[in-house]
């Protein structure tokens, strides 16, 4: 019988190679090592739902940063705004990308 040794680094979270995890009877994922507790916890690999949740958290951070610049998502462009930008848009209309 072939024996496997999982060499743990100083990092509390280590990635366990898939093949090794399967041979050890574990599911794929991240191995959480609880120091001093002599235990391992296998966290399932991230799912699409997790990515959506992460993105929502990132979007929240961006919204907080936007607030720091006094940016609001409401459209406050009034007639005086269009008076300034319309001549600039006339020029923008003629610029083209070369890609």
């Amino acid at each position: 019988m072939i024996g496997y040794t999982l060499r743990l680094s100083d990092e509390p979270v280590v990635a366990l190679p898939t093949d090794l995890a399967r041979q050890a009877g574990l599911q794929e994922g991240i191995v959480q090592v609880t120091l001093g507790d002599h235990s391992l916890t296998v966290t399932p690999p991230p799912t699409e739902t997790d990515y959506a949740a992460r993105w929502k958290a990132m979007a929240m951070t961006l919204r907080e940063q936007a607030a720091q610049f006094n940016v609001t998502l409401e459209d406050r462009r009034d007639a005086s705004y269009w008076e300034i930008v319309n001549p600039l848009f006339e020029e923008a209309d003629r610029m083209i990308g070369s890609a």
Partner: protein, 147 residues
């Protein structure tokens, strides 16, 4: 060694030769009743641009394009008005913030991809606070905050 006249840097301003039509494309289409291909002369206009492309593509010599936004000059009074309105995708620059002689506006919802060879002289770079504002406003322009 970069094969291009300038190696683009994100958040930096450059003079660029931007492809420019001598007339509005819709005016040309209105004039012609011919179906199919319509030929229009292409010119180039030297104007300032702000590089918004990521560092990897900027530094990759095999990748020939750069994503920019055109910089438009405005009057000092207009800068104050636009600052008060503070539209989420408008990026406003005072001369001391960017190295340009006049206050300017960059519409971050109007991005252009041009060839790196069209970038010319370096004008200046954004201070770190403006870089952060640029990141947030680009995210707003692409609706990344709405999820």
């Amino acid at each position: 060694m970069s094969p291009y006249p300038a190696t683009p840097r994100r958040g930096h301003l450059y003079w660029a030769q931007v492809p420019f039509l001598p007339e509005h494309p819709l005016d040309v289409l209105r004039r012609t009743s011919v179906l199919g291909e319509v030929r229009v002369a292409l010119t180039f206009k030297t104007r300032p641009v702000l590089v918004v492309q990521n560092h990897r593509d900027n530094d990759q010599p095999a990748y020939p394009f750069v994503l920019v936004a055109a910089v438009h000059s405005i009057k000092p009074g207009e800068l104050e008005k636009l600052r008060r309105i503070n539209h989420p995708t408008d990026f406003l620059l005072s001369p001391e913030e960017c190295g340009l002689k006049r206050p300017s506006i960059v519409f971050l919802n109007q991005l252009l991809t041009i060839h790196k060879n069209l970038l010319q002289d370096h004008i200046g770079s954004l201070p770190s606070a403006k870089q952060a504002e640029l990141n947030v406003k680009l995210a707003l322009a692409l609706d990344l905050l709405e999820s």
